[in-house]
């Protein structure tokens, strides 16, 4: 079973068009909700039942997040979609924006109805110009068809939705940095609490969900929370978009049930390139600790299975590496990334990410010292949990994962000032 939820229109020609989306029953659920004046609590209940967990990486239960909003509190509330897809290895939301923008729009309107919000923003990363333009066109078509604006389909419910365009900052994928960014500021994360459900965009109650999470809502409502939950496995309801890349024959985005064996996903992606052997897998975006290939071949693609192996499912970004990769070089590149993207607000992250990078860099370039391995562990552990947002942890986790599984390669680099034989 594949492409049942977010990519269900992918087989159509020009699937991003309104009429194509409607030919598959698109916006029918919204019409039903509005004309029957469905109870908002019933919608939140259905989403809870579906077992849908945040698809951006954190995996927080979506229905629970929605229930934190006091629906009847007076004043403006907001629905914000996080399309700031930037976790290295992740490229699924781009496909939703390009190929099924209307399902995201419908999901956001339903979310607005459920929490009593009449305005929404979709934060799209600045480099995604093509997806942004397509989303803007979809907004216009939805508005002309009466799905956005005032008094939708005569229901008395208003909903307006706009796209905000980022300008290049990984940190804006962090939800409170994203809110700061919409407010026209540097994207620096806020202290929590207060959480966005109480103090969000413009200081108002706000829910922020990932693109894939929100685009899943129309199908959950149409077919029921149980239907969705049953696609997946315990604790990991539904199907999920996996972005798989690296040294494989057919990289791409695959929407498959949670709990699918990794070996099947790898086969769908054409297997390893040119008969190479699998060495390691980064299973959930570059923040997720690496898992050795052999071990990964025994795991399933769901939250618990990957967590049980000491890593995380994250955004479902799977980077597959073959035996030609030097793990010191891979970590050097990842550490450079976090150093580049640290927003500079918290000292442990601002200073620590640069320190990690410089130490890995000197090991990679043959300048490593014996005490560097312990130093890496020490610096990483002193960033973890000591910063406002999770970027610090995201920088520390890959270091810890690499040292856990590939310490010998780091040691070899220090001893011989070059990569292990057959590597790099």
């Amino acid at each position: 079973m594949a492409n049942e939820v977010c990519l269900r229109t992918l087989d159509l020609e020009r699937p991003w068009l309104l009429e194509q989306y409607q030919s598959r029953g698109g916006y029918a659920m919204l019409k039903k909700i509005l004309t029957e004046k469905m109870a908002p609590e019933a919608i939140i209940e259905e989403v809870k039942k579906s077992g849908l967990r945040g698809r951006g990486g954190a995996g927080f239960p979506t229905g629970l997040k929605w229930s934190f909003i006091s629906r009847n509190a007076p004043g403006q509330k907001y629905v914000v979609c996080n399309s700031d897809e930037g976790e290295p290895g992740t490229f699924k939301d781009r496909d939703i924006l390009r190929y099924n923008p209307h399902q995201l729009i419908e999901g956001m309107i339903i979310a607005g109805y459920a929490i009593g919000a009449t305005r929404g923003y979709n934060y799209i990363r600045g480099e995604f110009w093509e997806p942004y333009e397509r989303f803007e066109q979809a907004l216009e078509d939805a508005r002309n068809a009466g799905f956005l604006g005032e008094n939708l389909l005569g229901s008395g419910f208003d909903f307006e939705l706009h796209a905000h365009l980022g300008a290049g900052a990984y940190i804006c994928g962090e939800e409170t940095a994203l809110l700061e960014s919409i407010e026209g500021k540097k994207g620096q994360p806020r202290y929590k609490p207060p959480f966005p459900a109480h103090f969000g965009l413009y200081g108002r109650p706000t829910i922020i969900n990932n693109t894939e999470s929100l685009a899943s809502i129309p199908m959950i409502m149409e077919k029921g929370g149980e239907w969705f939950a049953d696609i997946g496995v315990k604790n990991s309801g539904g199907s999920k978009l996996f972005s798989i890349s690296g040294n494989i024959n057919n990289p791409g985005v695959f929407e498959i049930p949670m709990g699918t064996p990794f070996s099947e996903l790898l086969a769908m992606a054409g297997g390893m390139k040119e008969g190479h052997k699998i060495k390691a897998v980064i299973p959930g975006g570059s923040s997720a600790p690496v898992i050795p290939g052999e071990q990964m071949m025994e795991l399933n693609m769901d939250y618990d299975s990957i967590a049980g192996a000491g890593s995380m499912l994250g955004s479902g970004a799977v980077i597959v590496l073959d035996e030609s990769n030097c793990m010191v070089k891979i970590l050097e590149r990842m550490s450079y990334f976090y150093h580049e993207e640290s927003c500079g607000q918290c000292t442990p992250c601002r200073e620590g990410t640069g320190w990690l990078y410089r130490v890995v860099h000197r090991i990679e370039t043959g300048q490593g010292r014996q005490e560097d391995l312990d130093l890496l562990d020490d610096v990483a552990s002193k960033i973890s949990g000591k910063t406002i947002c999770a970027l610090g942890d995201a920088a520390a986790m890959p270091v810890q994962g690499m040292l856990r599984h590939y310490r010998d390669e780091f040691q070899y680099h220090i001893d011989h000032k070059r990569c292990m034989t057959g590597v790099g």
Partner: protein
Amino acid sequence: MTTTIEKDKTELFTAEIRAEIDRWIAKYPTEWKQSAVMGALMVVQDNNDGWLSTQLMDQVAAYLDMPSIAVYEVATFYSMYELKPVGKHKICVCTNVSCMTNKSDVIVEHIEKKLGIGFGQVTEDGRFSLKEVECLGACGGAPMMQIGKQYYENLTPEIVDAILEGLE
């Protein structure tokens, strides 16, 4: 008083640029004009050969009723704003893990040799500049690059040649 300010604002940018910025302003609550700063800076940059001068940032600040420092903060924080002149075609090559393991270094070397510039530099004729960027979210097409608003994926040196030769 209002009319004086309005008059000043019409002198800040051309009517076309103002219309584009106003489209951004209209997306946000009236009291949150500042939300349009990212869109406005991009509009202004696109109309100034791809970069932002201090004068332009000050004009954006005046147009949005923001302190200049608040605009500088935004312009220096986000990587897509350029604070010095760039080439007519800004070539952004991703070198993050998925691209790196698919030989983005070969692509970078090829472009460097072909154009005679490195990262952060502009060709003498001003046609091209080269920039190293972080993951652009197109790892399925690694190695990849962005030129202007367009993504180019599954690159080889030959494909890069064809793309660069096809540009004006």
